[in-house]
Amino acid sequence: MARITFLEAIRAAQLEEMQRDDKVFIMGEDIVCNVFGTTTDFVENFGLERVRDTPISENGFVGAGAGAAMVGMRPIIDVTLSSFLYPAMDQIVSIIAKSRYIYGGQASLPLVVRSCMFYGNSNAAQHSDRPYPMLMGVPGLKIIVPSGPRDMKGMLKAAIRDNDPVFCFEDATLWSGKEEVPDDPDFIVPIGKAEVKREGTDVSIFAIGGAVPMAMAAAKILADDGISAEVVDPRTLSPLDREAILKSARKTGRVVAVDPAHLTCSAASEISAIVVEDAFDTLRAPIVRVTTPDTHMPFSPVIEKALYPNKERILAAVRKVVGLPVPA
């Protein structure tokens, strides 16, 4: 066990898996110079073949990752920021998601696309995306959004070992947070399993990525008010752990879904739809979504910050679904 940051957890996962399996390699823009600190000492450890700078050609190198995976490699493809996934969307949807199927199982694509969601930093609309919901409707992809160093390390290791393409969305608001993380090189957090981060009985708060610590903080405050909030982190958004979502929703009968993505067609919308479809009988209140509204992210920090989910909005949503007055 060591107390490490989210970024250190990424590095540790990559390091251990590259040591374990020489089919694993990493490529992306400015990987060698290690912009964010997730590849410290990698060139020294693995050389420039396995730690590979790419030209600014997202569609090209994401697709090259697909090709390399098809012939037996296990690429980690670092697409610096999630906003740079759009140029690669064709290879993502048409090749990575569909090749196994379209060739009747002949193709295997064991690859990981890592991409950071860099929002809340005054980097304006073209650099602040949180686009995982876009990919949730694309069959053939797995999607993870870890909410802390422990999950980050365990799930990224699971992703690298997975035989299917996994998209790992890394919430930069979590980068510097620290947690105890196991050193065991076989420590794995399985893909596809939600985690109850806090047990409760009155309301289920489903929270994603950077919203998880906010939900935990809100739950603490709610406890003081006598409200027992359960915090559930789906962790994997594709495939969603429907059973865990329904179990918690059925237990509490009240649901708040917190999601840093834009409101419409968000993961929060999907969770809400699942609950009302399959746990309606136990539902005692409206399901409230706490998301980023459907506007772009402005540069000016004075108007950017208030747009994302925060503890206060979660508290207000919970108070609404449990029937308490919401302070103005």
């Binding site: 090209g60 697909a66 090709g67 390399a68 012939v71 290879q91 090749i95 379209i102």
Partner: protein, 331 residues
């Protein structure tokens, strides 16, 4: 003609004939309603695919396009699973899930015929990167059209292969058209091969109706690739006889006498003549044709007698484990 060449020549002839007969029959079966979906035939371009693939080893990689029948046959794929695929059967090479635009036989290194124009190019580069990282000497060849050379994916793939010195052969089959638009109007260079200069890549332009010429150019490129010399760009000047795809009469432009002119240089007829002139007995070639016809008929019979996939198979191969079947299908 030395024996080895002779073997290769006869095999080239056989593969070109296989493509031609396979597609002639497929077209008829499509017209009869037996084959669903669209069908983009390769007739006229056989020398390009076969000449190129004959220059590859069995374990080399090849990636192709929506015009997907010719490439895997050229690479040596067995016909039964290909025809069964066209017939949408469970025994198809893609289990009936890919169809005419996606005939791909991974066993012979055919890593995917992909119907999104340009999308195969990065994949081929990635396969070559795999070879490099694994330290083997397999090369990767990518077929693509004149139209595809206008996609961003083409550009990014070429640059990647060049800066990483990867064993890739970019094989542009310039058949003069992309659906209805002539290359002369859409591609901003006279020869697509000009574009190789943008990547400091050696290039060659060859007569795509001459299977030997294609073979030679690709052989040189393969040697370069296998010995660490990096990528090569080859443009084959070729032609598709038919409309872009079956039932696209509307876009069958009036190509004037062009079709006849190209037919007069038919790659199979031409090659047969050359083989005969080179001393191959007519009877040998007739036997090959008889065998090919039988092979195609056998594939058709196999396909026809094969079962369709079951509904559950729609949920297979999305991920490495089968997805749960939705309730509405199990009720």
């Amino acid at each position: 003609m030395p024996d080895k060449t002779n073997d290769r020549s006869l095999e080239s002839y056989r593969r070109m004939l296989r493509i031609r007969h396979f597609e002639d029959r497929a077209e008829a079966m499509h017209a009869a309603g037996e084959i669903p979906g669209s069908l983009h035939t390769y007739a006229g371009q056989e020398a390009s695919g076969v000449g190129a693939c004959m220059a590859l080893r069995d374990d080399d990689y090849m990636v192709g396009t929506h015009r997907s029948h010719g490439h895997p046959i050229a690479k040596g794929a067995a016909l039964r699973p290909l025809m069964a695929e066209l017939l949408a059967k469970a025994t198809g090479i893609c289990k009936g899930k890919g169809g005419s635009m996606h005939l791909s036989d991974f066993k012979v290194g055919s890593l995917g015929e992909t119907s999104i124009v340009g999308s195969g190019l990065p994949v081929a580069v990635g396969a070559a990167l795999g070879s490099k990282l694994q330290g083997n000497d397999r090369v990767s060849l990518c077929f693509f059209g004149d139209g595809a050379s206008n996609e961003g994916a083409f550009h990014e793939a070429c640059n990647l292969a060049a800066v990483w010195t990867l064993p890739v052969i970019f094989l542009c089959e310039n058949n003069g058209y992309a659906v209805s638009t002539p290359a002369s109007a859409m591609v901003s260079v006279k020869d697509v091969a000009e574009r190789a200069k943008a990547y400091s890549m050696p290039s060659a332009i060859v007569d795509g109706q001459d299977v030997e010429a294609v073979f030679e150019a690709v052989t040189e490129a393969v040697t370069r690739a296998r010995t660490g010399g990096g990528p090569t760009f080859i443009e084959t000047k070729t032609y598709r006889y038919a409309e872009h795809a079956v039932n696209m009469g509307r876009v069958l432009l009036d190509r004037g006498g062009e079709v006849d002119e190209w037919r007069s240089r038919d790659p199979i007829t031409k090659y047969r003549k050359r083989l005969v002139e080179g001393g191959v007995a007519e009877a040998t070639l007739d036997t090959i044709e008889t065998e090919v016809v039988a092979e195609v008929e056998d594939a058709i019979t196999f396909g026809r007698e094969s079962p369709y996939p079951t509904q559950e198979e729609a949920f297979d191969d999305v991920l490495s484990e089968r997805l749960p079947i939705p309730a509405f299908l199990t009720a």
